[in-house]
């Protein structure tokens, strides 16, 4: 299945991520990054009123992490990309899925490493390169 992103009126095909996000709202509605109609949604479309923010593995739906957000919390999501041995025959790339929330001046982050190990922290400034290199 392909997912389409309407990029300023120009449809763009987006490949599904290894881990995808899903926002469940207090009214029971939900928004999925890769929805069931084949549409791709950007994180900025999530808006307010998220009750549960989740990351799940589309190819292994038993693997998911759900965060029940405190009232008023804002979800956080980004990809942290590493390029090791850049521009050499040994170059390899790794993608860390970073998600969590901020609330009342505090932040909580989860980092899903390439081997699906999860690291938790209260800051996004943690050093991951050595952890990834050891996988």
């Amino acid at each position: 299945m392909k997912w389409i992103f309407e990029n300023d009126g120009r449809p763009e095909t987006i490949e599904r991520e290894r881990w995808a996000w899903e926002a469940l709202y207090a009214d029971g509605s939900r928004l999925q990054q890769f929805d069931e109609t084949g549409k791709f949604h950007q994180f900025r479309e999530i808006g307010q009123g998220v009750a549960v923010f989740s990351l799940y593995k589309p190819d292994d739906k038993d693997k998911r992490i759900d965060i029940a957000l405190p009232g008023g919390a804002e979800p956080i999501h980004l990809y942290r990309n590493f390029v090791f041995n850049s521009s050499t025959p040994d170059e390899f790339k790794a993608r860390v899925y970073v998600f969590g929330y901020k609330h009342n001046g505090h932040t909580h982050y989860n980092f899903i490493l390439p081997d699906d190990r999860v690291v938790q922290a209260t800051t996004d400034q943690i050093l991951l390169a050595d952890m990834i290199a050891s996988i």
């Binding site: 987006i14 950007q42 999501h77 990809y79 942290r80 990309n81 850049s86 521009s87 970073v98 400034q125």
Partner: protein
């Protein structure tokens, strides 16, 4: 889908830009993708500066790329040092391209980190907190190897990069 990122390098007085370099070898010549054995650095001399950029060629559905970090790993050997403009504090802004030189770089004056920096050390639009919201490039990453007369040939080192992407 991930943003598409490549490393570009500019050479000569004409700022000739090569996209998607295949190596970052330093040498005694200002050329891209050079063969180190063809352009060895005489112990005591410097390499030519490398003027490179992290270039986002397509956002792939993402809205922002930022938080750039660069560092190298493995020892250079001898007393050689690897200098750069990249730094986590007192960042000097986006350097204006100048013909790469083999004299001591006036731009690459900070020691290249040998482990992952704690925070961004390469800017976008002159700022470490800058971001790309469409196709574009980082500030120039300028770096140079400065060797010592007692150094031996054969040392190698590799570059690592990190960047954040908001989808």
């Amino acid at each position: 889908m991930a943003a598409t990122v490549e490393i570009d390098e500019a050479n000569t007085v004409s700022e000739t830009l090569t996209h998607g370099i295949t190596n970052s070898n330093w040498g005694s010549n200002d050329s891209v993708n050079l063969t180190a054995a063809t352009y060895p650095i005489i112990p005591g001399d410097n390499s030519y500066e490398k003027w490179q950029k992290i270039h986002v060629t397509a956002m792939g559905g993402s809205t922002k790329v930022n938080n750039l970090k660069v560092w190298r790993v493995t020892a250079l050997g001898g007393s050689a040092v690897h200098l750069t403009n990249a730094r986590t504090a007192s960042y000097g802004g986006a350097p204006t391209f100048a013909t790469p030189v083999a004299t001591d770089s006036a731009v690459a004056t900070q020691t290249m980190p040998t482990s992952e920096p704690a925070t961004a050390n390469l800017g976008i639009a002159g700022s470490l907190t800058g971001a790309l919201t469409g196709a574009g490039s980082s500030d120039y990453l300028v770096h140079q190897i400065q060797t010592d007369a007692g150094d031996l040939v054969g040392a190698t080192t590799t570059m690592h990069y990190q960047y954040d992407e908001i989808a």
